[in-house]
């Protein structure tokens, strides 16, 4: 058993230790200059890197929009699918499809659907009276919310699935007591369901924030970070810096900052669970 544990630790820990080592070096793969130790200079340079700072704020904006949309929507759908009605199990099964379908393929399908002139999204919005929708992915102001929407399509179902599990595990007594006290449906939701579900919602938010901050696949495929750098998230910038621009050491520093960011945000959310 010990060898298996050792292999596990090695496979997971070695790359991260190597990453820390790299982040203290000026390191490039092209050319013959060997890596040179520069201490924390890579991290210091980050503070002056406007493109990095911009991508950092953009990623936080992306995550905030994502949380604000995914959690209420996912919870609402869970409440609906938690009700007892025929065909509900089919709906529950269908709802897992967006999160398992290959993100790259689905991102491309969304590019097709969002096409400003021929897309089905424009067509459907026409029925709602929206005749000149934004250019979505080619509009610098709309591109992030649009990507958040595509991400929400993929991952709101995860929030729903987690919330359905949480709802199913709630104790019955508080609801019975509220009924006896004559609480209205809204009061029961506000004062019984919501507080009891808070821990579940926090778990869902933690899982979402971890993935929101790391978003890259759909951005790479749908916009490549454009127009300009308008949708460049940290993870995408990280990829470009390290593996396209060959600044390996600097990229390693960015990766560590991203890791730290995910860690800090999820721990901050976890604390909310005890605080309220």
């Amino acid at each position: 058993m010990l060898p298996a544990l050792l292999a596990l630790a090695l496979i997971m820990a070695f790359p991260l230790l190597f990453l820390v080592f790299m982040s203290c070096h000026k390191w490039s793969m092209v050319g013959y200059a060997p890596p040179s130790f520069i201490g924390l200079a890579n991290f210091a340079a980050l503070a002056d890197d406007e493109r990095f700072i911009a991508s950092l704020w953009r990623t936080l904006y992306f995550a905030a929009l994502g949380l604000a949309s995914n959690i209420p929507l996912g919870f609402a759908i869970a409440l609906l699918l938690g009700e007892d009605f025929p065909t509900r199990n089919i709906l529950r099964a269908l709802l897992i499809l967006p999160m398992v379908a290959t993100p790259v393929a689905m991102g491309l399908v969304w590019v097709v659907m969002l096409d400003p002139s021929l897309g089905v999204v424009r067509y459907l919005l026409g029925f709602l009276g929206i005749s000149s929708p934004p250019l979505w992915l080619s509009d610098a102001g709309w591109v992030v919310p649009t990507l958040v929407a595509v991400d929400a399509w993929m991952w709101t179902p995860m929030v729903t699935v987690i919330c359905m599990a949480g709802l199913a595990a709630l104790p019955v007594e508080p609801f019975e007591a509220a009924m006896v006290d004559g609480a209205s449906t809204w009061q029961r939701f506000r004062h019984v369901t919501l507080p009891l579900m808070l821990p579940t919602l926090v778990v869902a938010a933690m899982l979402r924030v971890m993935d929101l901050l790391k978003v890259i696949d759909i951005v790479y495929v749908m916009t490549g970070g454009g127009p300009g750098h308008a949708s460049e998230t940290i993870n995408l910038y990280n990829y470009l810096v390290a593996l396209s621009y060959d600044k390996i050491g600097y990229g390693a520093a960015v990766a560590l900052v991203l890791f730290a960011l995910v860690l800090v945000c999820s721990v901050a959310l976890a604390r909310m669970r005890r605080a309220p």
């Binding site: 967006p98 993100p103 659907m113 971890m210 790479y220």
Partner: protein, 272 residues
């Protein structure tokens, strides 16, 4: 059941289908698009009813390279799943019987770490070893997520196996590996099946690692599908057909393991 109840249930059902139906729209559009000719594809308002064509699928499967990428995806996902199980089951056994908390923390850290944090060092390492572009490098890199996923899932299943059975096997003179193979593996067969499916899906869907570590010969489907977006023209119908083919296996597999999906996702079955 009262009439009121029935009306309410019907309303819930209608609303449920509306909401979930909206979530299914991209799948519908992908499937419809894959059967459209270019003319149908590019008409506006979009056509919902048209005479379907198989030309897109013929084009995808007529392309030898695509078949090759399909095989690459199978090899990499199969390899990463199998090795993940081979290393993950013994590790999960050890952790299930001793150190639950430490493992929880380690796996949570692995869940938070961005893929790129592993990818950069692995890329440099594989470059030194002249392994970039090999199946070995792809499979090894995918272990970064299939392995924690496997351990996380299997710890739960192994804990459900009564310790007494294991102990009696050990007393009868079985070594630990033999006992694992003869007792634990058969007793957790269902869990192993669910775990392998989730690991397979995670590896199949992975884009970034293959983007960096694969070459023209070894690239997997998610990277290959980008090839349909050329610099001059985009073959829309073919792109949709290829997307359908990529998505189909994971969708079918996922429906088989519905009830384990949450656990898998918590362990990071899919993430950047």
């Amino acid at each position: 059941m009262t009439r009121d109840d029935q009306t309410r249930k019907a309303a819930y059902a209608a609303l449920g289908w509306l909401v979930v139906g909206a979530f299914m729209l991209p799948f519908l559009w992908m499937v419809l698009g894959s059967f459209k000719t270019t003319v149908d594809f590019l008409s506006y308002p979009p056509v919902w009813v048209f005479s379907p064509t198989l030309v897109n699928y013929r084009q995808v499967f007529g392309d030898n390279a695509f078949v090759r990428y399909l095989l690459n995806s199978l090899i990499v996902a199969g390899g990463a799943t199998a090795i993940g199980l081979a290393l993950g089951i013994p590790a999960a056994y050890a952790l299930a019987r001793w150190r639950r908390t430490a493992m929880g923390i380690a796996l949570l850290a692995a869940r938070m770490a961005p893929g790129i944090a592993f990818l950069i060092p692995l890329f440099v390492l594989f470059l030194q070893l002249h392994l970039v572009g090999s199946y070995a490098s792809l499979i090894a890199s995918h272990l970064i997520f299939t392995l924690p996923l496997t351990v996380w899932m299997m710890v739960g299943f192994i804990e459900a196996v009564p310790v007494e059975i294991e102990q009696s096997a050990l007393i009868d003179g079985c070594s630990i590996p033999v006992m694992l193979l003869r007792i634990v593996v058969p007793l957790t067969a269902q869990g192993i099946a669910a775990t392998s499916i989730l690991a397979f899906i995670a590896s199949w869907n992975n884009f970034l690692f293959a983007l960096v570590l694969a070459n023209e010969q070894t690239k997997t489907l998610p990277v290959a599908v980008l090839g349909y977006i050329g610099y001059t023209s985009i073959q829309w119908g073919t792109l949709m057909a290829a997307s359908c083919i990529i998505t189909m296996p994971v969708v079918v597999l996922a429906l088989c393991v519905q009830k384990y999906i949450v656990r898998g996702l918590i362990a990071g079955a899919v993430s950047g």
